[in-house]
Amino acid sequence: MSLLEIQDLTMTFGGLRALDQVSLNVEEGEIVSLIGPNGAGKTTVFNIISGIYNPAAGRILFCDRPLHGQPMWKIARSGIGRTFQNIRLFSSLTALENVRISLTAHLRYSVLGSVLLLRSSRTAEKRFDSRAREVLDLMGLEQRTETVASSLTYGQQRRLEMARALALEPKLLLLDEPSAGMPTHETLELMETVKGFRERGITIFLVEHDMKMVMGISDRVVVLDNGIKIAEGTPDGVRNNPEVIRAYLGEEDL
C-alpha cells in the first residue's frame, strides 16, 4: 500500500487542461520530487492534494482513504502538511503563535472553556506554548519565538512555514519550492533539514526547481510537462531520459 496514490488526475481551468490523467504513488518513507517546466502543473497537484481545488476527474488515496470532497482542514488533520510557493505565514502573529495555530488539531481545546476562562483552558495554553517551542527548536528558530512573522528574514520565514507544517505532525509533507530564492549554502542546509524530516518518519513530496537539491535528496523523481506525466524514476534515470531532456532540461546533455 502506498501512502499517497494519485490515480488519473485531471484538472481543467476553463479550457486549459492543467493536468491530464496524471498517476503517481508516494511510498511511506520516500522523498519524491515533482519537477517540470513552469506551468507544468506541479503546484496544481499540490493544491488538489491539500483540497484547495477539486479535480475534474481522477482520485487521490491517502492511507488508502479517498481525500476527495473533504475540506482542507480535515485533509491537513489527517496528516498532510504543506508549505506554499510564496510563503504564507500569519504575518501579524509571532513565530510561536504561528506554530501554535497548527497545534489546534492536536491539543485538546474547548472553545467554551476559553470563553469561560476555565482552568483547563489555561493549562491547554501552556501546553500549546511548550509544544510550539519544541517545534521551533527543531527548525533552529528558538531565538525568534517572540518575533512577529513579518519581521523575520526570508530564510527564517521559510523555516517557520516548515515548522508550522511540522507541528501538524504530518505523515506526508508537501514542500512547494522550499529552496526558491535561497543562496546555495542555505539550500544545502535545507537539504539536511529535509533529510532530517524523513528520519523522523515523515514522507516528503517535493516540488522543486533547484536540480542540485532534486538530484541530491530524491529517491524518485516524477516529471510533468504541460500537465502530462512524461517520466518517472530514479534521479539518474530521469536525468538521462531523452524525453525529459527534450522537454525540460533542454537539448544539451547535462
Partner: protein
Amino acid sequence: MSAILSRTGNKTKTALGLGLAAALLILPLVIRDEYILRICVRAGIYVLLAVGLNFVAGFTGMLSCAQAAFFGLGAYCSALLSLNLGLSFWVAMPISGLFAGIFGFLLGLPAIRLAHFYLVMVTIAFGEIVGLVFLNWESLTKGPFGLPGIPPPQIGSYVYVDNTPYYYTILALAAVGVYVAWRVTQTQMGKLFIALKDDQLAAEASGVPVSRYKITAFTLSAVYAGVAGSFFAHYMTFISPGTFSTNESIMILAMVVLGGMGSITGSVISAAVLTIIPEAMRFIQDYRMMFFGGIIVAIMLFKPEGLMSKGRYALKRET
C-alpha cells in the same frame, strides 16, 4: 533595556487602569448631574456593542453591518419576556444574550462563505430584514408604535429610578465584556481569529476549521449586542424599531474601525468618545454632525490604523 521599558510601560498601564477604574466607580458620587450620567450610560451600552463587534470586524476582519440588528433582537426579546411573561431583567438579560447569539450563529452560516463587499451586503440585508420584522409583526411588536412600559430592573424591593443604578449596572456589564474579550485575545481562540484574518487559506491548510471559528466570532459578537439590547430596553423602558437601524450598525462599525481594528482599548475609547462628542457639541446645534463627521475623516486621514492600533491587527492599507 527594552524589557525594562516594557515593564515600566506595564506598570504605568496598570496604574492608569486602576486610576480609571476608581474614577469610573466614584463618578456618580461626584457628578450628580442626571444628564451627564445619562450620556455615560449610553457610552457604556456602545462600549458593549463595539467590543462585541470587535470579535467579528476587529479580530477576524469580517466587516459586519448587523450589530444593531442583534442589539434590537436582544432589546425586543428582553422587552417581550418582561411584558408578556413577567420575567425580571436579570432573567431576561441572559436569555436575550443567548437569543441574539442564536441569530448571530444563523447569520454566521451564510456569512462565512462571503468576503468584503458581499459580506457587507448580506449583513446589511439581515439588518434590514430584522428591522422590517420589528416594524411589521404588529401582533407581537406593536410595529411602529413600539413597546412602552418595559419594567425597569429591580433588586429585591429596590426599583431602578435615576441613572446611578443603571450606571453601575452597565459599568459592570461592560467590565465583564471587556474582560472576557481581553481573555479571549490571550487564548488559542484569539490567535486563531487573527490567523483567519491574516491568511485564511494557510489557516485551513494548518488544520483549522476556519468556518467554525468565524461562526464563533459572529455568535460571540451577537451575544454582546443582545445583552446590550436587553439593558437598553429596561433602561429606556420604551423601544421602537427606528433605534435599531443600519445607520446604527454603521456607527458601531465606525467605533471599531476608529478605535483600531482588534484593539479592545481602542473600541472602548472610541465608543465612549463617539457617544460624548455629539452631546458635547450640542452648543453648535445643527453644525454638530458636520463637526462629528469631520473628526472621523480626520482620524482616518491622520491615523488610518485607528486610535489605539499596535499595528498587529491593523487593517492593511492599500499602497
